[in-house]
Each structure stands twice: as C-alpha cells, then as structure tokens.
C-alpha cells in the first residue's frame, strides 16, 4: 500500500466517531469516512473534519532542549524518584496508555486524577450512570428529550440522533443558553421548576454533560431530575476516552483541574506529571493557567502532540500520534472502539519509566487484556444502569456568576482556532448597545478587554455566548461589561 491508512477514533469528544486517517507518501494527513462506525456512521463534525490540521507531533525535550526519548525518560525518572507527585490524565489517549499511566501512579504511591472533580462529590452508586448513560441508539426511541447542552455547537453528532427521535414522534425541550432550531420548546426557566415544567417521565431522556469545569451542584440537579421524573440520562463528555479513564481510575481522588491549579498556586503541588492533558488548553483562561504552571518545580509531560504545555515543561516524553497507537477507547455509551494502529512507543516509554521508578515492566498485550477484563466485560454494550442513588442534597448551588458563558466544544478543549471568533448576543443587546451591522462589541472583565464580532441569536437578554476561548474569561462564566466599538 502506498502511504498508511489508520482506522481510528476522533479525539474531539467522547462520542467515539470512527474515521480513517490517511497518511500519504509525503506524510500529509487526510480524513476519510468510516461508514460502518457504529457511533457516527462515518459522519464527522466540523472538528472531526479538520482533524489533520490539529495533528502536530510532539518532540521529546529535557529542560527546553530537544532530546532522545530515552534521555527524557531517564531525566523524568531522576526527578520523580522520591518526589511528591500529582498526576493528571483526562482521557485524551487509549485505555492501555491510561492504564500504564495508572500503574506508574501505583508504583509511586499516588493516583491518576482524571480532572473531572465532580465525581468525587457524587455518591459512588451513581457513578455508573454518570459514566455510561443511555446508548446513542436509544436516544432515537425516546418520547421526550430534555436538552441541557447545545448539540449543534457542543456535541454535533447528537443532532442526527435527536432529529431521528423527532421523526419517531419525540418532542424536544431545550433548557439551554439559546434557542435551538431542533427544539419544539426553548425554555429559560428557574431550575427549581424543571421537574414540574419540563414534562419528563420514564420514556424521556435528559441529555446534559460533565467536564472538568462542571459545577457539581449542577450535575446533582440533573441526577435529581432524572430520579424524580424517572427519565433516563446521558452525560456527554469531552475527551475521546473520558469514559475509559473514569472506569480505569475508579475509586481514586479524581481531583479536578481547577483544584490542581489551586494546589500549584498554594504550593502544595510541586511536581505534576500529565498524560496527554494540557491545562493551558483545558483551563478557561490560557494565560492564567500558563502562569500557574510556571510555579511548578517539575512539569513532566507525556504526550503524542505538540501543545502549549510542552513549551513550559521540564521534560517532554513524546509518544506516537494517537491514530498510530495500538489500543482502545470507550465512548460515552460504553462502546469499546479499537485503533488499527500497532505502535506501542508510548507504552514502551511508560514501561521504562515504571521500571526506573521501581514498578513493573508493562507490555501492550498484557495491558489490553487487563482493559478487556476490568472494564470491557462489565461495561461494553451496557444496558442502561438505572440510577441507584437517593435524591441528592445539592448544597449551596452556585449561582451563575457571569454573563459571558463558554459553550464548550471540541475546538475549545483543544484551544484550536476555527471560524468562531465572534460572540453570540440577542437583538435587544444589539439595540441597547447600539451595535452596528458588521461592527464589534467590546467585552471588559478583570482580565482585560477584547473586541469581538457578534452574531445575533434568539437567547435571553444580557447573555453573551462564546464557542471560542477568550482572554477576558476567568472561568466558564465571567462577569463582563459591554459596549459598542
């Protein structure tokens, strides 16, 4: 064969969209459609289509200088021996690499944090339902769907599932930030009214999401809604293997990324080891995250791609591109998806690191077998796990603090540019501020000012939505003042 063809899964989110990556003789990458893929039938969203643009190989480095991977492993081992280490792996890589990473954590007497702090705030009985919800196929036979995400922007491959449900007679209510074309009703109501106003019952499905910056109170609210109405629930997730790492790292601390950043700022975390997880990309404000990471004594990055954190790392251990890896992923509905790649460089590197740190040697096949035994047997093609917990005490539910809201989506999680350098506002805001057609709106927060183009949407007064990370943001919601430019 001329060039290479990899059967792989899109890293953009946890939908599990199968695709081919073609590599031609010159090494140029192209996306090709894998129509037999069960999660997406070969279809891809805007992020999936642009995937080749996001692939950029990582280079091994020690203290800012290019090095061999062996030297990087040796340097990492030296710095990790006896150190108090925090580890982060959000699930941007295979189950097998995640398991190898977790074995290294064992060898050092620590745990891998998945960055999803919300899990540690939820009773363990409801983890299975938050981890693996209703199947994507089952969405199509729901009678009513309550949407707490914007599928068009955030999880685009949901759109066809919801439209299919509508064809089958479902009604759709959106409780989001802006009107959705596919929703029969767009409601902006007080959360206390969800149960009485949304018309949900045991034939309904609630679609929400969890991610590193999710408010645990919000997730509890969603779970309570499901418990009280008997509706089934699906939590969408970012990161190609978010479900896999969650299952593999069960029972661990599950520190959120914001908590880790706080730990660094407070000085309690001095050494951070990350596996394909870039806090600069993942935190709402890249500049603030970068400043925080600079405070670490040791930042050790094991990664398959070049991303901002590599430039700040003490050591980078570069692994092969995601599509070339041998390994598997688990998508949001608990389906195991295999890569066709056969490269095990990442696992070999982690095996060497593990041995240097007094742990065991690891090989791919062994890890893969453990993955099959430990998570796949229990979770592949699961029946929906009815919620096993009691109605939860939400506690002091954090009021949304700001009027600028992040509509998280794959481009945002990877901080990749797209044709999305605009914010969304409603017509009242346009009139009130006197925004001119084609003009700009200035957003000012404690973090500074940015001028943005705007697009008009049907949405509540005063809100500003963005699908792109902005330097004025301080969290997933931010208080900003606005004026016409």
């Amino acid at each position: 064969m001329i060039g290479n063809v990899y059967q792989t899964v899109c890293p953009g989110c946890n939908m599990g969209c199968g695709l081919y990556i073609r590599e031609d003789e010159e090494g140029a990458l192209l996306v090709d459609f894998m129509k037999s893929s069960p999660a997406n039938l070969g279809k891809l969203c805007r992020f999936g289509m642009k995937l080749p643009h996001h692939y950029s190989k990582a280079t091994s480095m020690v203290d800012g200088k290019e090095s061999s991977v062996e030297d990087a492993i040796k340097a990492a081992s030296d710095r990790l021996k006896g150190a108090n280490v925090t580890m982060l792996g959000v699930g941007n890589t295979t189950n097998e690499e995640s398991l190898a990473f977790s074995n290294i954590a064992d060898a050092m007497g620590t745990v891998v944090n998945t960055g999803m702090g919300v899990y540690s705030e939820l009773p363990t009985e409801c983890h299975p339902t938050v981890g693996v919800g209703i199947t994507l196929d089952d969405i199509e036979s729901a009678k009513r769907i309550a949407l707490f995400v914007d599928p068009y922007v955030q999880y685009p491959l949901l759109v066809r599932r919801i439209l299919a449900a509508k064809k089958n007679g479902a009604s759709v209510v959106s409780v989001g930030w802006k009107d959705l074309h596919l929703a029969d009703e767009n409601r902006y109501i007080d959360p206390d009214l969800y149960e009485s106003e949304l018309g949900l019952d045991s034939e309904s499905v609630i679609i929400a999401d969890v991610h590193p910056n999710t408010d645990p109170g919000w997730v509890k609210r969603m779970l309570n809604l499901a418990l009280k109405t008997q509706a089934k629930i699906l939590f969408m997730k970012p990161f190609v293997n978010a479900t896999g790492v969650d299952l593999l790292c069960k029972g661990t601390g599950q520190k959120g990324i914001p908590e880790i950043m706080d730990g660094i700022n407070e000085g309690s975390i001095k050494t951070l080891v990350i596996l394909d997880s870039d806090p600069v990309e993942l935190m709402p404000n890249s500049d603030v995250a970068a400043e925080t990471l600079k405070k670490l004594d040791n930042l050790i990055v094991i990664t398959s791609r070049d991303s901002p954190v590599n430039k700040m790392a003490s050591i980078v251990i570069a692994t092969e591109p995601l599509c070339a890896k041998a390994g598997s992923f688990m998508n949001v509905e608990g389906l195991l998806l295999n890569n066709s790649g056969e490269d095990t460089a990442g696992i070999d590197a982690m095996s060497a690191l593990s041995q240097n740190l007094g742990g065991a040697a690891m090989d791919y096949q062994e890890l893969h077998n453990t993955v099959l035994e430990s998570i796949v047997k229990k979770f592949t093609k699961p029946k929906y796990k009815e919620l096993a917990c009691e109605v939860l005490d939400i506690g002091p539910f954090e009021e949304k603090k700001g009027n600028l809201i992040y509509l998280y989506n794959p481009f945002m999680w990877f901080d990749q540019s797209d044709d999305n350098d605009f914010v969304m506002v409603n017509m009242n805001t346009v009139n009130k501020l006197g925004l001119s057609k084609g003009g700009m709106i200035a957003l000012t927060s404690d973090a500074g000012t940015v001028n943005m183009r705007y697009r008009v949407e049907d949405m509540p007064d005063g809100l500003i939505l963005t699908a792109k990370k902005l330097p004025v943001a301080t969290g997933w919601t931010t208080v900003v003042s606005t004026e016409a430019v």
Binding site: I2, K35, G42, K43, M49, H181
Partner: protein, 384 residues
C-alpha cells in the same frame, strides 16, 4: 485479438482468484496484470476489513490487488479521488467512472493515465443500515455473514454455517432498508463510460457464478484486456446472443425501475414553496464541510467559491455555502449519494442537489461524467 465493442465472458486463470471473485475474478486479474506488466504504476482497490467495511487503498503490490476480490455492496465509497495525480488502474461503479471523467474535465485526472475497469451496479447499501436489516429482516447476526450476492432482484446473505437467505430488494426497500436513496433513482447501471464494463448480468449456463461479462468500451479497454490475456491472467470468449440479450433486458428493467423511483423520490414542489423547502431542509446544517470534502466531482481546493463567501458569523437561514454549491454543482452533480452519507445532520443533501441539478442538466441534454469531451454547460474556463 480484442476489439472495441466486443461483448465477452471471461474469468481469472488463477483458480483462487476466480473462486474468490465476485463473479469470475476477471476484474482483479485485469487490474493485477495492468500493474505487473507496467501498464500502470498503481492500482486502486478495496482492502477488506469485514463484510461491511473496506478501505480504498492505492497500491503497487500485485498481491494486495489479488487479495481485493469480491464486490462489497455495503461499502458505498466513491473511488475517483484516489486516482488523482497517478498512473492507475481502478475498478469503478458507474458513479466512480462519472466522477473520474468530471475530474478529468477539470484537469485533476489525466484519462490517458487512468484505466477504468467498470463494474455494473444495481446499487449499494449503507453498512450500518445493512446490519440493522440483517437483524430485523433476515434474523441473521451480522457477525455471521461471510458473503452476499444480488440475484434476480433478491439480496442474498450467506452465513458461516453455509446457509443462504434471500429477500426481494423491493420488500427490503419498502421496510426502509435496502439500497441508498441515490442508488434507487440512478439510471446508469452499466458503466458504458468506463474502459471496460464488467458484471454478472448475462453470465448464464455453466459459467453462471464463475465468470464475468465484459463489454469493451474503448481502446484503453482493448489494452487492458489484451494485456491481461498476454500475462496469462484471464481467459475470455465471446458472449452468446442469448447472454447479451439477457444482460440488456435486466439492465432495461433496472433503468425503468430507477426512472419510476425518481418520480416517487422527487415529488413536485410548487415554485412558490421551493425556496422555503431548501431553507428548511438545510436548517440543521452544522457547517462541517463534509459534503464538499467527500464530493467526488469537486475539483476546488480548500479555498473555493462556496467557502469564500461563507462565515459562521453570518446567521443566514441558508448559508452562502449551500447556495453557491447548489449553483456550482448544477452541471456536475452525479447524484452519487456521498454527501448524504456523510452529513452529520442527516440532511438529504444528495436529494437537494439532485432536485436542483437534474432539471437543469436535462434541459441542456447533458449528463455529467459520460464523456470527457462533453463540455459542462456552465464551464467558465476551458482547460487545454
């Protein structure tokens, strides 16, 4: 001695290839011979993954070509783009061949360097729909399928335990399964636009199931066959009048069926409602650009008319992207169905493009992808 216009029946001399071949393994043998005798530098074939999945590959390895036997009815790819910029031989359904010719008109493929071994096509199916159909209609576990065939209007699946089950395609399509929508109204079933037109229609008598019917369409077809005969890879004999008549008759039936279905698939929309109709259909577009990327007749690069005037910041009911594409493809759309297949919002984009393009193409008595010398009615620049 082979001549243009010959109607032949033939098969691969390698028993293994003949046995594994969809009908007689002739197509594989012709492609392999083209590669080993240097007629071409590469061959495009399907690398099988399973019954429902295969990936097009470009290869210079004869063994890989020989391993690619068999027709995959549930792998609806279009192969034209894999032929670009190379000296290749390739199998081609009629819509693959149409796309190759459209690309040649736009200077992206050199037809002198591209040998097209056409495959008759009664239609292809979507793999996931096929798996669902197997469970719902055949009571067969998709994992147990080892082969499939289309015979006398029936779709037959063979299972691991040697059983066969056949159901009429009409029945399957009434139940919402069967061929992709674009294949149902397609009326080009024999690839007369290719260099050779191969199929199993017209293979009768003792040879039924173990030979390929082959019509020689042009001088390149002559070269392909003579080359394969010389290489000792195929044997051919003239088709009987009866075989030729049967092939023509089955083709007529399929073409008429396509025309009938076209009327069902495209009910009239009053002029006043047309704009509204297109807008509503496109309203769930998520701007992924997959329909352009997959389009086998699109010869524009990343920066093109349809993308040039489109921006996500514009909140139009129907984007400039779609408006431009409707116009731009009106003389080149071959209704191959690729764009509908890959649309993440399940917009029936092929039907929309076709509804727009077919009347305009008919008005100008022009069918895209049939002959490289047919100038598209709206061609702005004639490339020399």
């Amino acid at each position: 001695m082979v001549n243009v216009g010959d109607m032949l029946v033939g098969y691969a001399t390698d028993e293994n290839v003949r046995k594994r071949g969809a009908s007689g393994g002739l197509v594989t043998a012709v492609l392999a011979a083209a590669l080993e005798k240097g007629l071409v530098e590469n061959v495009v074939v399907m690398k099988h993954i399973n019954e429902f999945e295969a990936v097009p590959i470009i290869t210079n390895d004869v063994d890989e070509v020989l391993a690619s036997t068999g027709s995959l009815h549930s792998v609806p790819v279009n192969l034209a783009k894999y032929a670009m910029g190379r000296k290749v031989a390739m199998p081609a359904k009629p819509c693959d061949a149409q796309a190759v010719i459209e690309q040649a008109k736009r200077g992206m493929i050199d037809l002198d360097n591209t040998y097209i071994v056409g495959l008759n096509c009664g239609g292809s199916m979507h793999p996931v729909t096929t798996k669902k159909m197997l469970v719902a209609m055949y009571d067969i576990d998709p994992e147990d399928v080892v082969g499939e065939d289309i015979e006398k209007g029936k779709l037959i699946f063979k299972t691991k335990n040697g059983e066969e089950k056949a159901i009429a395609i009409d029945e399957l399509e009434e139940a919402g399964f069967g061929r992709r929508e674009s294949c149902r109204f397609c009326t080009l079933k024999i690839p007369v636009n290719a260099d050779l037109a191969c199929g199993n229609w017209g293979v009768i008598g003792d040879l039924a199931g173990s030979a390929t019917f082959c019509q020689v369409m042009n001088d390149k077809g002559v070269k392909l066959l003579e080359n394969a005969i010389e290489a000792g890879r195929i044997e051919v004999e003239p088709a009987s009048d009866k075989a030729i008549a049967i092939r023509a008759k089955v083709n007529d039936v399929m073409v008429n069926l396509g025309s009938t279905l076209e009327k069902e698939i495209f009910p009239d929309i009053p002029d006043k409602e047309r704009m509204q109709y297109y807008m509503e259909q496109m309203e769930d577009c998520i701007d992924c650009g997959a329909c352009k990327e997959v389009c086998p007749v699109c010869a524009c690069g990343e920066d093109s008319k349809c993308t040039m005037f489109h921006s996500l910041v514009d909140n139009y009911k129907m984007s400039m992207y779609h408006l431009v594409r409707l116009l731009h493809l009106s003389d080149s759309c071959i209704a191959c169905g690729q764009c509908s297949d890959v649309c993440p919002s399940d917009i029936p984009i092929t039907l929309l493009q076709s509804r727009f393009a077919i009347p305009s193409q008919r008005k100008r008595e022009y069918t895209p992808g049939m002959n490289v010398d047919d100038v598209p009615p709206f061609f702005e620049v004639i490339l020399k």
